[in-house]
Amino acid sequence: MDKIAPKSRRTLLKTVTAVAGAVAGTSLPTLASAAPAAQGAEVIKIISSLPLTGPSYGQSISVVNAIRMAIEEAGRKAGNYFIEYEALDDATAAAAKWMAEKEAENANKALNDPDTMVYIGTMNSGAAKVSIPILNQANLVMISPANTYPGLTKPGKGEANEPDVYYPSGSRNYTRVVPADDLQGAVGANWAKKLGAKTAYVIDDTELYGKGIADVFVATAEKIGIKLVGRSGIDGKASDYRAVATNVRALKPDAVYFGGITDNNAAKVLKDLRDGGFEGSFIGPDGIFDTTFLKTAGDAAEGAYCTFGGVAVSAYEGSAKEFAEKYKAAYGADPEAYAIYGYEAAKVALAAIAAAGVKDRTKIRDAVFATKDFKGILGTWSFDANGDTSVTTMSVSIAARLADGTLSWEKVEILTAG
């Protein structure tokens, strides 16, 4: 036994090292991208906060990769500063989606790190609601690649106290490079109309984003003459939605609009609707615009429509197409829908740091807000005083079966929302 012991201990040690290596490997995206040991020049840190655990992982890691690509392309420099980047995770395995506690922790981490000047995030509008007020205290600028809830920036488009409630200091610190849902929800309703729908049933996941965009859909639908026959809010953790499907079958709407995200069981809702005999059109917002939705819904996904503040990856042209090719060369897969916004957000951040010329949160925030006629990958665009982009390109995609049998979101139409 004594002779064997040392050997087995070594084996154990090896196993432990291998496991530790594997763990470190999986958590790599959350580590800082190896910044050069900055000699002489000062370091400015960019932090991103996105759900890197759960169904959103694919989408989020794609955004992280794109941010890293933008920083690498700039030689990890902006003006006279070396740029360091750290990707934080605002989701937990137990919840399998973003958690308010985790997002607050990330925001406080950024706030208390004197080197952090830009916060790229969040993926979910509900999470932004948590971090904006925290970062607002220090004028630490946020650039979101994905939040679309209108109330975060636009007065009169959300609750009565929005958006001022998020900005306790009285000045703004939040911007986003994606068009908001007051455009997207409207595009969804217009699309339903174009498909010939006269009646619609609306289901939402009762989250800030999902309920918000469903409200916009309902308001627009009523204006353009689509009758709302019913509406349900669902629990994203329920085991089935047959009762809702029965409602839909009883009311026979031409279209069902789902306001919500893949993490809240969107695929199961669609499955139960189809199983329940619903044969009309299913339309969802960008919250379901990912491959996880298609995989989980399987056959039921075929023919589902999805709106998006931008263009499907398969329809990229010009510099966007170049970006997608570079991305694929670097990471071995096509970028997900939001990657391009992560890339643009990082570019805006780098440009603002260079323009500000000093390591000062307020000055860098001002520089981000001053972004005007920015020649980016999304076209030439500006931020308005609310921090919203002037880009209004919207697109509609359909879940189509490709020749190899897999499902993919394919472009149907590109629209410019007014």
Binding site: T53, G54, P55, Y57, A93, A94, A96, T206, S232, G233, I234, D235, K237, A238, S239, D240, Y241, R242, A243, V244, T246, N247, R249, A250, L251, T262, N265, A267, K268, K271, D275, G277, E279, T292, K295, T296, A297, G298, D299
Partner: protein, 319 residues
């Protein structure tokens, strides 16, 4: 919307869901009846049962149902065989797992404080959830359609809003015989008698020559087997599975067991069917977002008015 047919449709949904909840609830109630602990890991055993079923079916190469012109085609005969194999595999897998859990995590704590096995159970629940994540990932997975969905009401030539599909019937075909078999086992066999005796007075039962450890292991075996069956049925009925399903089903089933009177087998059945129907009616007539409030509100009421549950008088005997 307020037609009788609409009500019947929700009733069908509620009954099918209720039978699934019953299968899981029995696992809670059996264990509570005999060792007076809530096995919080039970829902997660059920989840792993669903995972093992989909893995088995895919490994056997079972063919998913084909749809032609929006109609499900009947499966090829082999599929039925593979389903039976998957049912048995899943039941054996979950039964073994449950017995192992009892042996490793609960047995040594049996004579300790009441809290010890409870906390241990929560720990096991976390471990099983992480096994689930490691096995199938964090996203819900697609459980392919192996059971066709054919409306039997229409097939009999009746034109009605109510649809009773082959999938609904399938749930009953598997769950009802299992529940009956279990009841007979406990009431009629020697081992069942040993279980009842152990539940009534563990020390006296031991003095009468009953092997307590074996009897308790048997209880976990039976509970696990039913959870395994429920895992397969739930996968085939809902066509999704995810590592969190153990939590949501577990919570509903635990509620059902408490509602019916925990420790009482008939109570678990009554509670399961009741929760299933209550959930479907709340989804249908209120709104799905209120369903958890309705279910747990009812639980609160029952606990206030009748703390031992609807059929809980059996507990008094032991107290």
């Amino acid at each position: 919307m307020l037609t009788f047919e609409y009500f019947l449709q929700q009733l069908v949904t509620g009954l099918a869901n209720g039978m699934l909840i019953t299968l899981v609830a029995i696992g809670y109630t059996l264990v509570y009846g005999i060792v007076e602990m809530i096995n919080f890991a039970h829902g997660d055993v059920f989840m792993l049962g669903a995972f093992s079923s989909v893995t088995t079916l895919q490994a056997l190469g079972a063919q998913a149902v084909k749809r032609v012109a929006n109609k499900d085609q009947p499966p090829i005969p082999e599929t039925y065989l593979w389903l039976v194999v998957a049912l048995i595999t899943s039941m054996v897998f979950c039964a073994t797992l449950n017995v192992l859990i009892e042996r490793l995590a609960y047995r040594r704590l049996r004579r300790g404080s009441r809290m010890a096995p409870l906390i241990s159970a929560i720990g096991v629940s976390f471990i099983l959830q992480n096994v689930g994540i490691y096995w199938k990932g964090v996203s819900p997975i697609n459980f392919p359609r192996y059971i066709p969905q054919i409306d039997l009401v229409k097939a009999f030539g009746i034109d009605s809003f109510v649809r009773v599909t082959t999938k609904d019937v399938f749930v009953f075909v598997v769950t009802v015989p299992l529940v009956i078999a279990l009841t007979l086992f406990i009431q009629r066999t020697k081992l069942g008698k040993a279980m009842r005796a152990t539940a009534q007075d563990r020390d006296a039962a031991q003095l009468m020559g009953i092997d307590i450890n074996r009897t308790i292991a048997l209880t976990f075996l039976l509970g696990g087997a039913l959870a395994g069956a429920a895992g397969l049925v739930s996968g085939l009925y809902n066509n999704t599975a995810g590592f969190q399903m153990g939590f949501s089903y577990g919570l509903n089933s635990f509620t059902a067991a408490v509602l019916g009177g925990i420790g009482n087998l008939n109570g678990a059945m009554l509670g399961g069917v009741f929760i299933g129907i209550l959930g479907a009616m709340s989804d249908g007539y209120l709104d799905a977002r209120w369903t958890p409030v309705v279910i747990f509100g009812t639980l609160n009421l029952v606990l206030i008015i009748r703390p031992s549950g609807i059929l809980g008088q059996d507990l008094a005997e032991r107290a």
